[in-house]
């Protein structure tokens, strides 16, 4: 009994460590990547290739004083950053990195990840409301309406996949796609010919869900100064920042598991954790690439895209798949 508890603790700690290390080093990767794209070096002073930059940043942020603006709701102001990071870390617990490497396998893994992901909107709302800043309130209203409207097409797409595979267990979802890229969910099948479109919708939605450019309306720095975290300094800001990157990793992992065959090799050879990591880092790189290439959309353009294009298409795909599943 005690051994299983110990095992569970080790697994959970490992998942948290993976999340934290990724959050810290993705900042480095983002800045190096941005530097490459913009033809400048990026951080390169601390350590080889600037690899000691994230710990230095962390120490700097932690050493800073926590400033609470006058008139702010102190409790909400303090809770919000923790709420940004905690759900992101919790989601890692159920993500399977390979056949054996998973902190805690659950038969409702998909549901759990989405439940925690929707808590992220809560932290943005509380941060904006609690800091008593007009820019922050406007930004959090934007971010929440954005998160809500993009969760709908995302969930409809997930329902389509769950219908096809008949399971909500992430491990079984991957097992169903084993044996090469022609078995992946992203590839059109007889039952669901529109799967590449679903993949695209899911990809766009994960960009929007993580508040990344070109959908970073919650922190549009040219309009709303720094958005919902305008009033945050020190580690409060740091937690929002790390939460964003942890969410990116989760988004990439979900895309990999749902559409790209998880830890399976594209050619069906040597499945393992390396394929999983390779896939998520390719996806993360594409996130970074998109961020540094495109300008920001408008809030109404963003909502129009979700309600008028993505939701109808994903609904149509859902109905089509349901019908075709009955036929075949």
């Amino acid at each position: 009994m005690s051994l299983t508890i110990l095992n569970a603790v080790i697994a959970v700690v490992a998942a948290i460590a993976f999340a934290a290390v990724n959050a810290a080093y993705l900042v480095w990767a983002e800045r190096r990547g941005a530097g490459r794209i913009q033809r400048r070096p990026g951080p390169n002073v601390n350590g080889p290739l600037g690899l000691l930059q994230p710990p230095c940043d962390g120490i700097k942020l932690m050493a800073k004083q926590i400033m609470i603006p006058g008139g702010a709701d102190k409790a909400l102001f303090m809770v919000a950053p923790a709420l940004a990071m905690a759900p992101a870390i919790m989601s890692f617990v159920t993500i399977p990195f390979s056949d054996t490497i998973v902190a805690h396998s659950m038969n409702v893994g998909v549901l759990m990840i989405f439940a925690f992901a929707s808590l992220g909107a809560m932290s943005i709302l509380l941060a904006g409301w609690g800091s008593r800043n007009k820019y922050a309130v406007m930004a959090s209203v934007r971010a929440v309406s954005q998160n809500i409207s993009y969760e709908i097409p995302m969930l409809i797409t997930v329902i389509t996949i769950v219908m096809m595979t008949g399971t909500m267990d992430l491990k079984e979802l991957v097992a169903g796609q084993a044996g090469g890229m022609w078995n992946w969910n992203a590839v059109p099948s007889l039952a669901s010919p529109l799967m590449p479109v679903s993949f695209l919708i899911f990809f766009i939605c994960s960009l929007a869900e993580t508040n990344r450019a070109p959908f970073d309306l919650g922190e549009a720095e040219s309009e709303l100064v720094a958005g919902f975290h305008t009033e945050y300094g020190s580690m409060g800001f740091g937690l929002f920042f790390m939460g964003e990157y942890a969410n990116i990793v989760i988004g990439a992992s979900l895309i990999t598991i749902l559409f790209l065959g998880g830890w399976g090799c594209p050619l069906g050879l040597f499945p393992g954790v390396w394929w999983f990591l390779l896939k998520i880092y390719i996806l993360i790189f594409s996130f970074i690439w998109i961020r540094w290439t495109f300008p920001r959309t408008t809030i109404y353009g963003l909502l129009n895209l979700s309600w008028k294009i993505l939701i109808p298409i994903s609904l149509f795909n859902l109905l089509l798949t349901a019908g075709l599943l009955k036929v075949f």
């Binding site: 913009q38 040219s222 309009e223 300008p295």
Partner: protein, 372 residues
Amino acid sequence: MSGPIHIQPGETFTLNVGPQHPATHGVLRVKMEMDGEYIVKAETVLGYIHRMHELMGENRTYPQVLPNLSRLDYLGALGYTHAHVLAVERAAGIEVPERAEYIRAITVELNRIASHLFWFGAFVMDLGGFTPLMYAIEDREYILDMLEAVTGSRLTYCYYRFGGLYNDIDDDFIDAAKAFIPRMRRQLKKYDALVTGNIIFEKRLKDIGPISAEMCRKYGASGPVARGAGIDFDVRKNEPYSVYSEFDFDVPVYHECDSLARYMVRMDEMEQSLRIIEQGLEKLPDGPIMPKKKPKLIKPPKGDYYQAVETARGSFGIRIVSDGTKNAYRFKLRSPTYSNMSLFDEACEGMMIMDALAMMGSLDLVIPEIDR
């Protein structure tokens, strides 16, 4: 400042955009009456960086004021000093050698490209795209290096003298400029591919931020803002000064009146400036850069003198009222951004804040030039 916030339906709130705000590019303050994300009323508050350049112009001699002019608009400073030397030369009747005028035109156009490049980067950054700024700054660096070699400074130039120039350009400058022209043409194509054709970019600017020709006339807007509203006016063409009548160039005019039109005008202007530089380098005559005969002390005869030039931001005018002494009696600066900014209050009413700030970016504001 404590207690909960009560927001009633239908209530508007005041949003202070600035004096320190990333979108205003300086110490400009816009007091906005907001209804949610919509602007009900906007009021521009100026004066945060007022330095009394006009008064300084009245209690200093003409040469002493010359460096002040490049502190107005630090991005396109040469155009402003050009206006001053032209005005004083006209007032005092000083002849300028042809070579000096050609070099002035070449350097002013280079400076115009540098200014437009920086605007391009800052504008796309206003829209959330960070990368073009880095590309633009890299290209601008070539121009700044070239100008630094001949003028001795990188931003606030004091290169022109009454009657000519501070020093002549050398072969290095000519070679660098000749190499720069094809490079810049390639880069402009790249910018078009990266930014102009982008669907998000187009959606944010097309039919957004309308500034009509009537509004431009009402507020005295000029430069790319007016040309984006279909007003075909460029001081270089309509009232040619210096040697601009010798050059063959077009004035880009767009009739759409939206932010995209103002963007396109500036992008086309860079191309036209390259044409002017190309012709200037070809036609560059030999000879002195300062006149043989030049008064030691500049004392324009009694009178009222005005000289307008086309700077990167619009038509800039200097009015000198001389009472025959070594100081001006009245030194009036008509700066283009001041007029362009004035129409913002009216134009942004009823817009969403993100569109309004995109429109503000398309006005190409340089705040020290508004406040002087």
